[in-house]
Each structure stands twice: as structure tokens, then as C-alpha cells.
Subunit: 195 residues, 2 copies
DNA sequence: GCGATTGTCTAGCAGTGCTAGAGTTTGGGC
DNA sequence: GCCCAAACTCTAGCACTGCTAGACAATCGC
């Protein structure tokens, strides 16, 4: 039997939890992950530090994980359309996919880091990998599958394409790439995958 | 006029500097960069913390930079041979390049992170980029250039190839990729670059 | 041997993630 | 309406981080 009071409290807890995740994400996107400290998050939600550990017993890493999971959800919906662009050539389909991916990474750099760079409490490449995390990769596979001339080893090609796009994002974000010529890179990559 | 004593001191300073860099690199490779703290490095060279700041006024980041520069030197020599493999097909040349790159990243993961992931005091993609840092990228360009059938936009193709290999390394190291199938990825990537 | 330069150390600041234990608010049974 | 236990939240503190000011000691050129 759940009393009304308990229901209200559960609702408030949920609300506060998402406040924490939201504050972490906003802070990370505006000032970088280094600025996301437990103390600053506590200030943001106007509670003391230990309250955060009530919501995230695994500590800071678990908060980063929560942001990453939000990101995976958004990435999946960002990539979904490119699976079936009607009346489009193979090159256009791949270009749409790559552009959508790069666009997401550019709009949410810190979230992207949480998803693909930072240590996180999600089992990747395992049976327990959450469906939503898998969804992004499956969107890439789906886009390749919908090509008129799909590649031979589809899963591996999807991995390599993913790696290539991620590499471009990572080197660009770490300042190892010049900022310009991004369109040329996209075009070159597209031409490598669909010839 | 440099006195013998001053010369000896200069030698000792240089020696100690390379002790610090060596300790940092070893510690990073064995326990990860998080374990590389000024205090632990000070212990390793048996001096107090402020001594390290005498050698590296910019602090920890400058030490990471020194390790990265060592890495760039080694990467350049690791990639050099693949530029001109005699009596080899285009596919073999690209495969040699990719394999050499992946091998370096696998042998020195922490050094690789210093080079391509961590914040570092080297101006990349700029006029002041050290020659040794450029050398790695030029090795990739050189390998592509030596192909019987070189790609059209060579510099951009080199960037994309670099990005692809880096992406594979990064996703693999961050646990986002399954460990297996690495050879298939290499083969697929090679086949994308040389038709 | 003396004096100034160089080198090195101790001690400390402000910050981090995280937690034990004290104190307060809350809610349900009477 | 009251009381007591359960749930909650806070203060204070630990051990660590990068980094630095200022006291002290060794060294070297004269």
C-alpha cells in the first residue's frame, strides 16, 4: 500500500534527480566536465552534497552516466530519420547519417564526451548493454542496410564508419585537426563508403 | 663563459628532467594518468614537489606534454617504414600503415592518450606545430602518396584515414567497441581506402 | 673564507570526491 | 492532537589533488 504522501515524495525525488542531471549537463556544456563538481551541483539544486549521494550512490561517475544515457536517447532519434530518406541516392543517405552524427556531436560536445570518452557505469559491447545505447549503432547499420548497394561485411563496415566519424569528432574536439575543411572530410568519407 | 661546474649542473638538470618524464610515462602506462600526481612523481625522483615546478613551470600539463612529444617521435619512426614498402600492393602498404599505427597505440596506450586525448601545451594545426608532431601525419600522407593509384584529394583522405584509425583506437580503448574483430576492421578500412 | 646566488624544503592554500554521525523534519498509528 | 520511529538533511571532516610563498641550506666564484 503506497500512501499519497509516499507517492508525492517519490515524485519529488524523481523531480530532484532530474534537476541534478540537468544541472550537470548544463554545467558540463557551458564550462566543461571539470567544472561539474559535487559542490557546484549541490549549490545548483540548493541542497548539501550528501543529498546527491542519496540519488547517485556511485557518486560523480553515476551522474555522468545519467547524462550519457540522455545523450544516447537523443542521438538515436537524431540518427533515425537517415535510415530511410525517401528518393535519395546511396551517397545522400550516408551523407545524411554522417551529418546528423556530426551535428549532434557539435551541438552537445560535453554530452558527447560523456557518451564516448569519459568513464561511465554502462556495460558496452556486452549482453547487458542497454537497448537505447545499442540504438545508435543500429541506426548506422540500418542506414547502411537501406543502401541500394549495401557493403559486404555490414556490421564491420558500420563499426568502421562509426569509428571514422567518431575519430573526426574526437580529433577535431581535441584540437588535433584544423577546424576548416570539415565538409571535405564528410564528402571524402561518404565517397569511401559508397563508391 | 660557462664554468665546468655550471656545465655539470646543466647536465644534472637535464638528467633529472628526463627522470621526471620517464617516471610520468611509466606511471601513466602502468596505473593510468590519474595516478600521475606531482607528489608521486616527486617521490619517484626523490625530491620535493616544488622541484618539479622548477623543471616544468606550467605544471602537470607540461609534463604530460613532454610525454606526448616523446610519443610523437616514436610514432613517426614507427610509421616511417610503411611509406615505402618495396614490392607491395597498395592494399599491403595501407595495411602496413594502419597496423603500425594500431600497434603503437596498443603498446603505449597512456602515451597515445597524452598525444591525442589529453590537454597538452602543443599548438596543433598551426604554424607553430613542432615538426615532430607533423611528422606522423606526413607519414600517412606519404604512404598514400606512394600508392600506385593515389586518392584524389590526398590531404583530406589522409585526414579521414587518420580519423578512422584514431576512432577505432579511441572507441576500443574506451570500451565502446568489442575487443574482437579487430583484424576485420583493419581489412574493411583498408578496402575502403584502396578499392 | 666570504657573500651572493642557486637550489631545496617545509608548510600551507583552496580545491576535489566522498562519508560518518548528529540533528531535524515528517508521517502513520493511536 | 500526540508521540515515536523512520526518513531525511546537514555540518564537519578525511584524505587527496595542483600549486606556491617563504624559510633555510648548499654551492660556487671571487
Amino acid at each position: 500500500m503506497t500512501t499519497p504522501a509516499a507517492a508525492r515524495r517519490a515524485r519529488q525525488l524523481k523531480e530532484r534527480r532530474s534537476q541534478i542531471v540537468g544541472a550537470a549537463r548544463t554545467l558540463a556544456e557551458t564550462e566543461g566536465w571539470d567544472a561539474v563538481t559535487i559542490r557546484r551541483l549541490a549549490d545548483a539544486i540548493e541542497y548539501s552534497q550528501p543529498v546527491l549521494y542519496g540519488h547517485f550512490p556511485q557518486g560523480r561517475t553515476e551522474i555522468v552516466t545519467a547524462v550519457a544515457l540522455e545523450g544516447f536517447e537523443e542521438l538515436a532519434t537524431a540518427l533515425a530519420p537517415s535510415a530511410d530518406v525517401p528518393v535519395a541516392s546511396d551517397a545522400e543517405r550516408v551523407r545524411a547519417l554522417v551529418t546528423a552524427y556530426l551535428g549532434f556531436a557539435e551541438r552537445h560536445p560535453a554530452t558527447y564526451d560523456a557518451m564516448f570518452l569519459l568513464p561511465v557505469l554502462v556495460p558496452f559491447a556486452s549482453d547487458e548493454t542497454p537497448a537505447i545505447v545499442r540504438a545508435g549503432f543500429e541506426a548506422i547499420e540500418g542506414a547502411l542496410h537501406s543502401l541500394d548497394d549495401p557493403p559486404a561485411d555490414l556490421p564491420t563496415t558500420a563499426e568502421v564508419l562509426w569509428g571514422a566519424v567518431h575519430g573526426i569528432v574526437a580529433l577535431r574536439r581535441a584540437g588535433r585537426f584544423p577546424a576548416a575543411h570539415q565538409e571535405e572530410r564528410v564528402e571524402t568519407l561518404v565517397r569511401l563508403v559508397v563508391r
